[in-house]
């Protein structure tokens, strides 16, 4: 029973990590239809910012969010205005190529600036709480907590505020949104800025658990892609639920199958993805995008 509980806790914590990491990717895809292949690199940049503050000012990565998020917002806003806006209406392949190029440029730029030496941040939130034989990792619980706060805030922002409603309107039908007077370029830049800020925040909070190095982004982008497809584009409850489902599936298989469990878990997660794509192509929770594209005028 202890083992089962521990597997469950490991799974939920892994799910929190996944959800925090893929949220920005999911919303950008959902609102703008852009698959951001530089997503992992944005996580990496956020992690490096957090490391700089940790190394030189001694700031805790969880506190550094206060600086990392605004900085990343500005980076995202500018990137959207200068680069992404020019390709957002073009075929999907163009934006794939642009963000792919961006990912190569960013990772190599960081490689030149910081070298390939792996870095790590220190946090005061470390160690473990034990209840009987079951342990709760403190850092991962904190990551889960921050992820929940960010998700709830984003959800409230999208549901309750005027700007949030504009973003959802732009996601659902761009033409109609334009007709009712929404400045699409501004909304897109805002969306991209917010999502990059969230993505950078994910980089900052996972920095105590992973080595930070210039080429860490690619596997994270792939994982974000999987969970987004599983959960539904831009769906916030879906991100959380999809992340946790995947985390628990991986954890259970990892613990109960010996020898090859961790490998088998990855296979299982992709089998799950294929099944979902065949049976529910809009993802488990639907999302910001309508199931059928509206007929463009």
């Amino acid at each position: 029973m202890d083992l089962f509980l521990q597997a469950l806790i490991n799974g939920v914590m892994l799910g929190g990590f996944y959800a925090a990491m893929m949220l920005g990717f999911s919303v950008i895809w959902g609102v703008m239809g852009v698959i951001n292949l530089a997503h992992g690199e944005m996580i990496m940049v956020g992690a490096y910012l957090s490391w700089l503050l940790n190394e030189h000012v001694g700031m805790d990565p969880f506190v550094s969010l206060l600086i990392v998020m605004p900085v990343m917002f500005v980076i995202g806003y500018i990137l959207q205005l200068v680069l992404i806006n020019r390709v957002v209406d073009r075929p999907i392949l163009v934006s794939l190529l642009v963000t792919f190029g961006l990912s190569i440029a960013i990772s190599n730029l960081v490689n030149v600036i910081f070298t390939a030496d792996p870095r790590l941040t220190d946090t005061a939130l470390e160690g473990a709480w034990s209840v009987g034989n079951v342990t709760f990792p403190v850092t991962k619980t904190a990551i889960m907590g921050v992820a929940l706060v960010i998700m709830t805030s984003l959800w409230l922002f999208l549901q309750k505020t005027r700007t949030g409603k504009s973003i959802r309107a732009a996601a659902q039908n761009k033409q109609a949104a334009r007709i009712v007077g929404i400045d699409i370029n501004k909304i897109y830049a805002l969306t991209f800025g917010i999502c990059i800020a969230i993505t950078g925040a994910a980089g900052a909070i996972i920095s105590p658990t992973q080595a930070i190095f210039p080429f860490m982004g690619v596997p994270l982008t792939l994982r974000a892609f999987t969970i987004t497809a599983l959960a539904g584009l831009g769906s916030i409850p879906g991100a959380l639920f999809g992340g946790i489902v995947l985390g628990i599936v991986e954890s259970m298989i990892g613990i109960y199958v010996s020898g090859i469990g961790t490998n088998l878990a990855i296979i299982a997660s992709f089998v799950l993805l294929v099944v979902i794509l065949i049976t529910r192509p809009q993802g488990l929770f639907g999302g910001l995008r309508p199931i059928e594209e509206p007929v463009q005028l």
Binding site: L3, Q6, A7, N10, M13, L14, F17, I35, L37, I92, L93, L96, S103, I104, S107, N108, N111, V112, T115, A116, D117, P118, L120, E126, A128, S130, T135, P137, V138, T139, K140, T209, Q210, A211, F213, F215, M216, G217, V218, P219, L220, T221, L222, R223, F225, A229, S251, G254, I255, S258, G259, I260, G261, T262, N263, A265, L277, P281, I291, E293
Partner: protein, 436 residues
């Protein structure tokens, strides 16, 4: 709509896998200028000529060696160490030693370098060029198992001897090649010294986790073999995929098995994940032996106090007690290296110098540069160097050299095994994480 999503997934997946390869190849294509032969050799020979004028040793001729080593790409750093190791030997053999002695004559040495960009295919075509166009007499190895794998096939095709010091994977030596020799300890023996010293301290059970790629698999299979040899009971043998972000489940299982020794095979990030996961779950085995990470000074610097007690294999450390008549002790070598390059030597640099030195000694023993004679001399070679014993077996692996083991003790990387090379005793068992 369904089909559209599926197509998108396929496109993005294809792009994603491209990303992996291309970003790892990194800036290479943009910045690459294949290091022009003329430039490199003139750089190498200019000082030689000056010294010649002063000391006037009469060289009877020139022996030309060739190497494709990364100057750009993902192995740029290690490639630089490799070149610096070769060049240290080159500087020494031409200026101090007076050239390679064949009979009564002395031969000057040149090394022709190309930049392989960290790509196995590029490396192979450059080595082909070294052999066919530059007509080098012998080849020195590139950095990494993968590049050694591809270039040694070219060496075999043209029947040119390649001596290498930076490809440890056993698969390199399992192809029946006659022209590949390696001075470094093969991957299967990485954990031997550590497991032996821990067995002597009373450890009896072990668990092994490894990334399922070529090198860690070799390390783990070897660890299993040596563990059984030293009387351990192997309680678990777990593989995990490349780029895994979390190893909590492996650690949860291991905690329940309660082994004395944990062996982890993987890369730097894996070492970090294992240490963090063990701490998170409050699990302290009596010893943790992890490849790649701990021997890198960055590891202790970044991980801090949690890095203490962690053990790892090492090919060479400057504190080892090896000594020879050419470069003196390991520390003498390190000082010479620092004087020449202004930074301390990594083990990649030391093994590169040892690579060139063993080829040099084999040529002298053979008394000619004839391929068959030098090959026989390499097989017969049995020497002790600043880098450790060198004695090639039938497949070209260095059967003579034990792998060292280090342990991080108060933030310092100390050699703890084998006994003849160690500077400190193993601290055993590990202190629990919260009592540091």
């Amino acid at each position: 709509m369904w089909s559209l999503i599926l197509v998108l997934v396929l496109v993005a997946a294809a792009c994603g896998s491209d990303t992996t390869e291309t970003t790892e190849g990194s800036a290479a294509p943009a910045t690459t200028q294949p290091a022009a032969t003329d430039d490199t050799t003139s750089e190498e020979t200019t000082p030689t000529e000056t010294t010649e004028a002063m000391e006037e040793p009469m060289f009877a001729g020139t022996i030309v060696l060739g190497a494709a080593v990364s100057d750009t790409g993902k192995y740029a750093r290690e490639g630089q160490d490799t070149r610096q190791g070769y060049d240290l030997w080159l500087d020494w053999v031409n200026h101090e030693y007076g050239g390679i002695a064949i009979g009564d004559d002395r031969y000057e040495v040149e090394i022709v370098y190309y930049d392989d960009e960290g790509d196995p295919d590029t490396a192979a075509s450059l080595v082909e060029r070294l052999v066919t166009e530059d007509e080098v007499d012998f080849l020195l190895g590139p950095y990494s198992s993968g590049l050694t794998m591809s270039t040694s096939a070219i060496a075999e095709k043209y029947n040119v001897i390649m001596v290498e010091g930076n490809g440890a994977s056993e698969s390199i030596f399992e192809r029946g090649f006659k022209n590949i020799f390696a001075v470094l300890t093969p991957a299967g023996n990485y954990t031997q010294s550590a497991l032996k010293s821990l067995a002597d301290l009373g450890a009896t059970t072990v668990v092994i986790a490894y990334e399922d790629t070529a090198f860690p698999t070799s390390v783990a299979t070897g660890a299993q073999k040596w563990a059984e040899e030293y009387g351990y009971e192997v309680l678990a043998f777990e593989s995990y995929p490349l780029d895994t972000p979390d190893v909590s489940n492996i650690i949860t299982n291991f905690k329940n098995l309660d082994p004395d020794v944990f062996v982890g095979g993987g890369h730097f990030n894996d070492a970090l994940l294992f240490v963090r996961a063990a701490k998170e779950q409050g699990w302290t085995p009596d010893a943790m032996v992890i490849t790649v990470g701990p021997s890198n000074p960055d590891f202790a610097a970044e991980v801090g106090v949690d890095a203490n007690y962690i053990m790892g294999p090492t090919q060479w450390e400057r504190t080892m007690s090896w000594e020879d008549e050419w470069f003196g002790t390991a520390e003498d070598y390190a000082l010479r290296y620092e004087a020449l390059w202004g930074e301390p030597p990594s083990y990649q640099a030391a093994e590169s110098t040892a690579t060139a030195l063993s080829l040099h000694l084999a040529i002298e023993a053979a008394g000619s540069i004839d391929t068959d004679a030098v090959r026989q001399a390499l097989y017969d070679l049995d020497i002790l160097t600043f880098y450790g014993p060198i004695n090639f077996d039938d497949t070209g692996k260095n059967a003579g050299k034990p792998m060292g083991a280090i342990q991080i003790q108060d933030g310092v990387v100390n050699v703890v095994a084998p006994a003849e090379a160690s500077v400190a005793d193993v601290m055993y068992p590990m202190l629990p994480w919260d009592q540091r």
